[in-house]
């Protein structure tokens, strides 16, 4: 067990999400609802990691004051040297319970079905059935 976990530590990056395995020696299990949910989580962690650098390079790339060589270099770096998952647009807002990618109420981070369920049981602060 320790050998496997040690090896898996060496092979994977520092982000440990409970899915480390080596070539089918170990059944992979995690507590996420979905694999989609887990992947989205990994993307978000990646975004967080590279957010600052990306912001600065994008500012260099998109401005029109600096010489274009510099901006070209910044564009090139963003395109090649940054992982794709560091881009914010790749993250999808999912329901945090059911992992539903559509119909997600952003404020509560749940899908519309779950939202209705909780609101009906008075578990959403301040939410009330609309009536006018």
């Amino acid at each position: 067990m320790s050998l496997i976990s040690g090896l898996s530590k060496a092979t994977c990056g520092f982000l440990r999400t409970g899915t480390e395995t080596i070539f089918g020696l170990q059944q992979v299990r995690n507590k996420w609802t979905n694999w989609h949910m887990l992947k989205d989580y990994k993307r978000r962690m990646c975004v967080k990691e590279h957010a600052a650098d990306r912001l600065r390079l994008v500012a260099i790339k998109r401005n029109d004051i600096l010489p274009f060589e510099l901006r070209e270099a910044a564009a090139d770096e963003l395109h090649n040297n940054f992982p794709r998952d560091s881009s914010r647009v790749r993250c999808r807002e999912r329901c945090m319970i059911t992992s539903r990618p559509r119909g997600c109420v952003k404020r509560f981070r749940v899908s519309r079905i779950m939202f209705r369920h909780f609101a009906d049981y008075n578990l959403m602060a301040g939410m009330q059935r609309a009536m006018w």
């Binding site: 600052a52 401005n63 029109d64 004051i65 600096l66 010489p67």
Partner: protein, 399 residues
């Protein structure tokens, strides 16, 4: 005969009340009834008889005096504090006198500084008997104060075992507070481990990494859990959360937890040009860009002052790395203001399908105008039109 008498005695004795304030002495006969007070005796006969009178007298004599009352034996706790009685004090004084004489004699025999040796001897001897004395040797007994303290609790602990929590805390290394204070006489003295040179008997131990990393971590965790008690009820949970900062504190303060922000002045947030000093050129595209960055940051409500500073310093580092691009072979003309938007992609941000004229712009060579016939017009600022090229130089040579 005796045995029968004894039996009688025993039988009569059993009817006696167990606790009585006064009772008669053992000499009296067991047949007689026992009454609490002998004064109230029924007088069956008149007091005329001499016999009766004599009997009365005998009885009265036999009655115990009020002074010698027998005490009630109530099981009380013994008085622990031993106050030094007069007798003990006197004996102590005698003891100390004897010690003093002895120490004098010894000091004389040894020779040298007699007073010093005497003082040392006496301190050694008296220290053990838990006495204190102040003042110099001459006024030793006059200044002496006899203190008999009760046994300290700490000494009792030496024999007791430690509780489980105690043992755990010790192993964790948190046992700095409860060390027993040893008496000064029993310690060997100050030991300096690194005073002398090492003898070189042992090889340096190899610093191997602990192979059972997880195990040791779990062990540490277990020890911690054994010592810390989880919350017993929801109230304690909420207290814990409040202390951790997960719950709001009452009265509600919207700026709870933003103590560092309170400490930073607004000038650190708004006046960010000071971070440009030293490295940023005073004019040019880089300066313009950085000033815009500073303006943008000064209006940002979400960055901390430190983050803003780091942001600017990142740019410093970046521009230092890309220095060759800034003043390299390529042309650096700020032609933005004079280039219409339609030609942006051709001149400013070249991608592909460049018109021939734009293609010339991006050549590595600069064209110097030595014979300028025309007046400064739009062509002047575009800079790359081939007017009257006389000399063709590369950019570094220009600089």
């Amino acid at each position: 005969m005796l045995q029968t008498l004894k039996k009688l005695r025993l039988s009569t004795w059993s009817y006696r009340p167990t606790c009585s304030v006064r009772w008669y002495s053992d000499d009296e006969k067991p047949d007689k009834k026992q009454k609490p007070s002998g004064k109230e005796q029924p007088k069956a006969k008149p007091i005329d008889n001499k016999e009766a009178i004599s009997r009365l007298n005998a009885l009265l004599e036999s009655m115990p005096s009020t002074a010698s009352k027998s005490k009630i034996e109530i099981p009380l706790a013994p008085n622990k504090k031993k106050t030094p009685s007069k007798e003990s004090k006197e004996s102590l004084k005698k003891h100390i006198d004897a010690l003093r004489d002895v120490s004098e004699r010894i000091a004389k025999k040894i020779g040298g500084n007699t007073e010093k040796t005497e003082a040392e001897l006496l301190s050694q001897l008296l220290g053990q008997s838990n006495l204190k004395y102040e003042g110099n040797l001459v006024n030793l007994i006059a200044d002496m104060k006899v203190e008999s303290e009760p046994i300290k609790k700490k000494e009792q602990w030496k024999d007791q075992e430690y509780s489980l929590a105690e043992g755990v805390r010790r192993s964790l290394g948190q046992q700095n507070e409860r060390r027993f204070t040893r008496r000064i006489e029993s310690t060997p003295g100050v030991v300096n481990l690194f005073g002398a040179e090492p003898m070189g008997l042992f090889e340096k131990a190899s610093e191997e990494k602990d192979p059972l990393e997880t195990w040791s971590k779990l062990q540490q965790r277990e020890l911690k859990l054994a010592v810390t008690h989880p919350p017993r009820n929801y109230f304690e949970k909420m207290i814990l959360w409040t202390e951790q900062g997960k719950l709001w504190k009452f009265p509600i303060d919207n700026e709870q937890g933003m103590d560092e922000e309170f400490a930073t002045d607004f000038s650190e947030h708004v006046l960010l040009e000071m971070h440009l000093e030293g490295w940023c050129p005073t004019s040019g595209p880089v300066r313009q860009f950085m000033e815009l960055v500073c303006v943008g940051l000064s209006k940002n409500h979400y960055f901390t002052a430190k983050e803003k500073k780091d942001h600017i310093l990142w740019y410093k580092k970046y521009f230092e790395e890309k220095k060759d691009l800034l003043d390299g072979n390529r042309k650096i003309f700020n032609i933005v203001a004079y280039t219409p938007d339609a030609q942006f992609s051709q001149h400013i941000m070249p991608l592909m399908n460049l018109i021939p004229r734009a293609r010339q712009c991006h050549q590595p060579y600069a064209e110097i105008f030595t014979n300028l016939q025309g007046k400064p017009s739009d062509g002047w600022f575009k800079g790359f039109k081939q007017r009257h090229p006389k000399v063709c130089l590369r950019k570094p040579e220009l600089a």
